[in-house]
Amino acid sequence: MSKIEKALKKAGDERGNLQVVPAAPAGRTAPWTALLGQQIQVPETIPRMAENERKLLSADELGERGIIHPQHTEEPAVQVFRELRTKIIQQSQEQNAVILVAAVSEGNGGSFIARNLAAAFAFDSAKTALLVDCNLRNPSVHQLLPNAMLPGLADYFENPEMDVSKIIHPVGIARFRAIATGGLREIPAEYFVSMKMRRLVDSLRERYRERFIVLDGPPMSDIADARILSELSDYVLVVARHGRTTNAQIESGLNAISSRKLLGIVFNDEPRIPWIR
């Protein structure tokens, strides 16, 4: 657990829920705010999010869903995602960013990484996370929602008047929101090339400065979609899975995206004996 989080946890214990700290004037959070405890200048969105939060899931419930929780301190995965998050924040120089997480091929656990990376961003009380399901063929974000039929991307694209806030749903994790594909119906990939998609991403990014947007992308075997989404995002993480991905697949996946945006490869599901550190 990082020093910042320890401090936050301590402060939370002392003063009740840190998330209900009175709103500070709008604006970007200074990098040092996390260290200041009571004097944190929390952006105005965070208290509002706290109001809209549905009942938070317990650590064990999250564990069952395959999502990390800051309380799982002995879990090595938690530490790994924290480090990955810190790396991205350092890379973006404290500004929010759009991160595309795309697996090299189907079944490499791209959605798992995207979900947990978003959760890691949400660990920080001064940051929020938004997970957008862009994996149209094999969507998974709706599993986090209480109701799979809640409006999502498809509804947004089909109804020009629909407000963005209507498709952003809480998932039971503090400061974590998700946009599902919207029902289980098929939406054409052409939506991603539309101006509307670009505008959506831009507005999501601009509207909430502390929000890190994680795009749960399609596998990179679907080169066209992966390329379009990588253009929309600031950073790209490529997921390869132990014993599932071949070097040839990694090679062709890496060719599909710009190396400028590539943060690196996430090696998923490395076998490790649980009780041995």
Partner: protein, 512 residues
């Protein structure tokens, strides 16, 4: 990709955890297979016996020095050929009871090959041969080993006897041959001697002395002849130079000399005086008188000539030197004739001697050759006679088994084979292989699997940083399941090890 040892160990641990079920399954299978093999592995006994062999060929000492024996074949190989030969193996098959089921020829062949494969013959030291035989039946092992030794000794003795016999026959034949040769030789020498009487030792020296004497005589006589001939030529020359007769000074000549003298005086006087001068006239008269005297003298001689009377001529006499030379010349001619006759005689004698010498020489050379052959043949014949007697003794010794050089040094014994694998080796091997085979396969998979199994392999190969290595996230439910699964696998491994241990103990106690 370069891998450090600790990295390999860690990766292998993680991989075995990842593939825990196949790993445990393989451990169990390998152990069970090895245990089964250990239980079913036929028991093996080894029989061994040593035999002292002094296998020097009987030919060798018998023929030593007289004939060059061929190099005897390698002893060990020879013994092997004999023991694993068809004759001994056939008897072993029969005596050990393999032929009780009346196997076909093909089956017998297979049995023989089988026995051959289980028999080893090794030389120990110089003269000892060790026979080892392995079999699954203890009694049969002992019996076959003993039979091998007995049959081998029998065979070798028989072989040696036949070898001695054939050596004797050979020597005997040779001796007879040489005897015949010797007889023929002697006969030839006798004939040569009788046909050529001159041919006796020393006759050639005498002949050469005679030839030298003759040659010397011819040379000397030739020189004398040449001397005489030269003397003759010289006499010839002297005779031709001498006149047969000598002419004395005549009166006519004296008159002519006086006339010439007076004529000269007259010519001188005529220069100063007239013919009428008294001195001149006187001189003229004197000359006239002298001329008349001279012509009278001539006339007298002219008158004497036609009568051819060999009357003493007061002016001609016989030359004494000439007479002497003529005498010597004829003497010399006589000498030359005598010398020539003597040379011809000597040459004839020489020719005769040379002819005789030629005959003498050819006979002599043949005689020498025959004598030499005779000498050699006699030596060899005597040697062969000596050897034949020795061979006869050897045969007698062989038939009495006195000279047997084959003895059993160490009687046949049988004991559990030290080379056969033991049961505990199967148990231990099973446990070790049960661990090593899966680990080896995992390592091979780690190295050669086209799927990515190591994070640093990605960064090394694609030159892209690895942003994070995410371990498997165990949910609480999964962890409970994992605990149960691991307990189960541990139980299986323990059960396998317990089975191995139990079987080992049972085997040690001799129950199985």
């Amino acid at each position: 990709m370069q891998m450090y040892p600790e990295q390999i160990v860690k990766s292998l641990m993680n991989e075995s955890f990842h593939s825990r079920r196949p790993v445990v399954a393989m451990f169990v299978i390998v152990n069970v297979v090895m245990l089964t093999a250990g239980l079913l592995w036929p028991k093996s006994y080894m029989g061994s016996t040593s035999i002292i062999v002094d296998e020097k060929s009987i030919m060798e000492p018998l023929m030593k020095g007289a004939a060059v024996a061929t190099e005897t074949a390698d002893r060990n190989r020879n013994a092997r050929e004999v023991i694993l030969g068809r004759r001994i193996l056939g008897q072993v098959l029969e005596r050990a009871g393999w032929l009780a089921d009346h196997p076909t020829a093909l089956e017998q062949e297979a049995l023989i090959e089988h026995i051959k494969a289980r028999t080893t013959i090794t030389p120990v030291g110089r003269d000892v041969i060790k026979i080892e035989y392995r079999d699954s039946d203890e009694g049969r092992t002992l019996f076959v080993t003993k039979t091998f030794a007995d049959l081998f000794i029998q065979e070798m003795i028989a072989q040696k006897e036949s070898e001695t016999r054939s050596a004797f026959d050979f020597i005997d034949k040779q001796a007879q041959e040489y005897q015949q040769k010797l007889a023929a030789n002697e006969e030839e020498i006798r004939q040569l001697r009788s046909s050529n009487l001159d041919a006796r030792p020393g006759s050639d020296i005498e002949l050469s002395a005679r030839l030298i004497a003759l040659n010397t005589r011819i040379e000397n006589t030739t020189m004398e002849l040449r001397e005489a001939q030269m003397k003759g030529a010289s006499l010839e020359r002297q005779v031709s130079g001498e006149a047969e007769v000598t002419v004395l000074a005549t009166r006519e000549g004296q008159f002519r000399a006086r006339i010439a003298e007076l004529q000269a005086k007259l010519d001188t006087l005529r220069l100063s005086f007239h013919d009428t001068h008294p001195d001149v006239v006187q001189l003229k008269n004197q000359i006239q008188d002298l001329m008349a005297e001279a012509s009278a003298q001539r006339e007298r001689r002219e008158k004497a000539k036609p009568s051819q009377r060999s009357g003493p001529d007061e002016t001609v006499v016989n030359n004494p030197v000439y007479q002497q030379l003529r005498r010597e010349l004829s003497q010399n001619q006589l000498t030359i004739d005598a010398l020539k006759a003597r040379i011809a005689e000597a040459k004839r004698l020489l020719e005769e001697e040379v002819k005789r010498g030629k005959g003498l020489h050819s006979g002599d050379a043949r005689l020498i050759e025959l004598t030499r052959d005779h000498q050699i043949n006699r030596d060899i014949y005597q040697d062969l006679l000596y050897r034949r007697e020795r061979a006869r003794v050897s045969i007698n010794m062989g038939s009495d088994r006195q000279g047997s050089n084959f003895k059993i040094l160490e009687p046949a014994t049988s004991r559990p084979s030290p080379h056969a694998p033991r049961f505990w080796q199967f148990v231990l091997g099973g446990t070790m292989l049960g661990v090593l085979i899966p680990l080896g396969l995992l390592f091979a998979r780690l190295r050669f699997d086209p799927h990515v199994r190591l994070a640093n392999a990605i960064s090394e190969r694609h030159k892209v940083p690895v942003a994070a290595i995410v371990p498997h996230l165990w949910s609480p439910g999964e962890l409970t399941g994992l605990r149960k699964e691991l307990a189960m696998l541990a139980l299986v491994v323990t059960a396998t090890l317990a089975l191995s241990a139990t079987l080992s103990v049972v085997r040690l106690l001799g129950v199985l």
